[in-house]
């Protein structure tokens, strides 16, 4: 490439590339640190260093999980939880994003409605579970509504923040190129807020699973949360652990899915 300069010596090349090499090594090693914890747990449990009644060895939990996968026992629960989270999530996220954009774009609406949301936001979602059960009954609707409320606020505030943080110049551009109110909403405010919207979606996914687990403990006859609670009541600790791992994994996969969607839809934002 560069004809006039001398090639780098091997030693120089080695030094030049060594930070990247170290970086790769660390990245690979970091994958194994959770496994190390599991290993420690396994050993302590096998050696009876921790109470096996409360902390059965990971291998024992894996065995229980396998038998449950084979008997298809867990899949109904997973399906019930996924359906509740999915529907409740959509019911909360869509109005959250729309209202967030609207209040972000219009100062008047923000002044009028902002205080209402600010007053309702701090109410703990689990605290209103009895009220929700009273209004919507013990069926699935009460779960959808509870998740929707939790998701709504996270989406609302993240979207609002996204629009408000967008440089004012984007709004000037919108006006100058002759965008209508709806076009500004759709082509300027929405994409400008999209990175924040995805932050909200990830936070909301996490809190959806917290809410559904708690809701299913108390007011359901199916779902992974119910399964965990029922296992506890029968002192089936291995099964309980399987439930915990499954619901954690569901949350983890949901966030991975949202991140994949984010890379696809927000390619301009640096990850």
């Amino acid at each position: 490439m560069n004809t006039s300069s001398r090639p780098l010596t091997n030693e120089e090349m080695h030094r030049l590339k060594s930070p990247a090499r170290r970086e790769r090594l660390f990245r690979r090693a970091s994958l194994f640190s959770p496994l190390l914890l599991l290993l420690l747990w396994e050993i302590s449990s096998q050696l009876n260093l921790i109470d096996r009644r409360f902390f059965p060895a990971p291998s024992a939990i894996a065995q229980t999980a396998w038998s449950m996968i084979v008997s298809l026992e867990l899949f109904d629960h997973i399906g019930a939880t996924l359906r509740r989270v999915g529907i409740g999530y959509a019911m909360g996220a869509i109005p959250g994003v729309i209202l967030g954009l609207m209040l972000g774009l219009s100062q008047t609406t923000r002044r009028l409605l902002g205080p209402i949301f600010a007053a309702l936001y701090p109410v703990p979602k689990i605290a209103i579970l009895p009220l929700i059960l009273l209004i919507f009954g013990v069926g699935d609707m009460s779960k959808y509504v509870l998740i929707a409320i939790g998701v709504f606020f996270l989406m609302f505030y993240n979207t609002l923040g996204g629009v408000m943080q967008a440089p004012q110049i984007y709004m000037d551009v919108a006006k100058n190129v002759g965008a209508t109110r709806f076009q500004t909403f759709r082509h300027i405010a929405l994409p400008a807020a999209l990175p924040n919207i995805f932050t909200g979606l990830k936070l909301a996914a996490g809190s959806s699973y917290i809410i559904i687990a708690a809701a299913e403990f108390l007011g359901a006859r199916s779902g992974v949360g119910f399964f965990i609670w029922a296992s506890w009541q029968t002192f089936a600790v291995s099964r309980m652990f399987v439930g915990i791992v499954v619901i954690s994994f569901m949350g983890y996969l949901t966030i991975l899915l949202i991140e994949a969607l984010e890379r696809h839809l927000v390619p301009w934002a640096k990850q």
């Binding site: 006006k175 100058n176 190129v177 002759g178 965008a179 082509h187 994409p191 390619p267 301009w268």
Partner: protein, 267 residues
Amino acid sequence: MTAALQKTPKPKVVCAPPAIEVTTLTKAFYNSDADRVTLAVSDFSFSVARGEFVCIVGPSGCGKTTVLRILADLESKLSGEVKLHTDDAPAMVFQEASVLPWLTVAQNVALPLKLKGTPQAQQKARVEEMLALTGLTSFANARPSQLSGGMRQRVSVARALADDRDILLMDEPFGALDEQTRLVLQQELLRIWEATRKTVVFITHSVDEALTLADRVLVMSPRPGTLVADLKVPFERPRDVVEMRRDKRFWDLTYEVWNLLASPGGA
């Protein structure tokens, strides 16, 4: 003062109405916390003929950007009159990065057309034409984050030209660029202007830039900004931004404008 400085004759050519007529424009800002009124622009009057390239120079804070934003209807005036004798609203090239980061270069340029509902095929043809005009053809599918500051301002110019409006307002578009890129873009802008003959109002704090580009330079006083002088720039077109600098008149004019800027009131 000297021969090189020619005041524009007061009654301009009257055959066609000017594209822009501004009369005793006044703008003030009110800070309610401190109960303080800041007069930004005071009784500013000027007009721009159709197809004319006018530069407004003035010290920072003199309200020149405010004047431009009022012309673009991005800000409201306090009093005075602004008349635009055109069919469409003016297009604006902004000072800072105004290129939308979520769109590619081509999509940014197509934006005004897309929002207007121009048919796809027509959009595509027009965008290609604009990209060619601004030297961006090979960057059509690039994202703004992959471009240099100069390239991004080219995109801004291409977008402003895309839907072919009569008036082009430019708010220090090259202000943040380095000297060399600036010179290149000034030359490009001159070429584009000669090809399109838009009515241009160009804001700058650089005397050099104003003389390089304009048919006429309006000099503003420090805040509250008002017209200090209205100077005709005598260089023939097409202009060469480098060659111009060998012209003695260029330096005489530079000296004149600096004198005006240094002594507010214009006397």
